[in-house]
Symmetry: C2
Subunit: 242 residues, 2 copies
């Protein structure tokens, strides 16, 4: 992790660009971190890479920075979505954090038949994705989509996007990824109770969907998410592309 | 996850074997779960597989069960250790939980130069590993070793055991696993500040140690642990062996 302060902003970034912080960011930087005018901060917005910026105005609730130099270009992850059935709050937060770290481009909460979770607060999850990118040196932040029902998701599925479908009923099957799962692709992680027979049948009938085993042990959904992202990134993503 | 109650016990298990629960387990089963005589419970001890047992005596602080039939043989993970530099408490707990789920045989907290963590409570971590196995249907529980200093660990290293050494300084290198990392092997995950130059040099001079990249993004230590376990289990472990 980088030691200096990194902040996600929604402004565009470029040489000489002036950027206003949110009230919360100003409070964090000047109140909590005790920084002031002249402090160097890394900014990113998910599109323009990482910029070194300098604080030119510091107040209790206001902060203005000027972009100096680009320190890194944006590093776009491959066109991979992580779709998952929400679980307990802490583990759902964890899945979002891990998807941001591991390089997913979009995060989609999916309500399946056996999903047992309260209302999904999209904004909270989006904030988690931003925080993960801030802390892990990311220059991209995956978009968290609104929660969608399993049936509605598949009704409008783009058949050009493969679905890597991780089902604990497949323990012991193959964990190799077929070429049909190359980007654009989506990983689908089921709920703790697994997919329902009807859901499994529906996935089985979808040409774009390929079942992939995550080994002989039963994994919690949050573990399965990281394991599936690892398999995909290593076999078909950008892990060996540098 | 399985729906029925699964408990780890230290007794040996076999047909007709009588097993006494701990006070905590009796409280959980009869007080919290409101079970009583006649209830079927799954027991495992890490060695004798999983047994269906029946409650024959139920009290507030005492419980006796009789083993009926073996429901699964023990599933030993490959001879893989997970060695990691402890981090914040919640994330250290998480690493232990994930190592148990993903099939590590031994978990070793390693104090490196840049490790910034308080005292390691081995018993607490061991309890986490047991809980993960109970909840995820495991029949094996990895042993959590006492924390050891990096130097002492390597001073006595068995050169026959390969070290898969995950270093964020290697981002962009190869994530393929050389054959020298086949079991017996150990994964080594560094602390948030990375390994020190001296530690890196020491690892570089060790024939058994092989650096493996976990992709172009910086990962938190807990994410790196799951990603490394995934790579190893899929390439050299038991994921396709069933």
């Amino acid at each position: 992790m980088s030691g200096n302060v990194r902040l996600y902003v929604e402004h565009s970034l470029g040489a000489g660009q002036s950027v206003t912080l949110s009230r919360e960011q100003a409070h964090y930087l000047f109140g909590v971190m005790r920084k002031g005018v002249g402090t160097k901060v890394s900014l990113f917005n998910g599109q323009d890479g990482e910029w070194q910026a300098e604080v030119v105005e510091a107040g209790k609730r206001v902060g203005i920075l000027t972009c100096r130099v680009q320190t890194r270009p944006v590093q776009m992850p491959p066109d991979l979505w992580l779709m998952f059935a929400p679980i307990k709050k802490a583990r759902t937060d964890f899945i979002v954090e891990k998807a941001a770290e591991m390089g997913a481009r979009r995060i989609v909460p999916v309500m399946t038949e056996f999903t047992n979770a309260g209302r999904i607060q999209r904004d909270r999850l989006q904030a988690h994705a931003i925080e993960a990118a801030e802390q892990c040196g990311g220059t991209f932040v995956p978009h968290v989509a609104e929660a969608i029902k399993f049936g509605a998701l598949l009704d409008h599925w783009d058949v050009g996007r493969g679905i890597m479908f991780c089902d604990e009923a497949l323990a012991g099957g193959s964990s190799s990824l077929p070429a049909v799962l190359a980007a654009p692709a989506a990983i689908l992680i089921g709920p703790e109770g697994g997919f329902s027979p009807a859901e499994r049948k529906r996935l089985g009938g979808l040409e774009a969907a390929q079942a992939v085993s995550l080994g002989p042990r039963i994994l919690r959904a949050d573990t399965a998410a990281v394991a599936a992202l690892t398999l995909w990134q290593q076999a078909l993503g950008d892990w060996d592309a540098a």
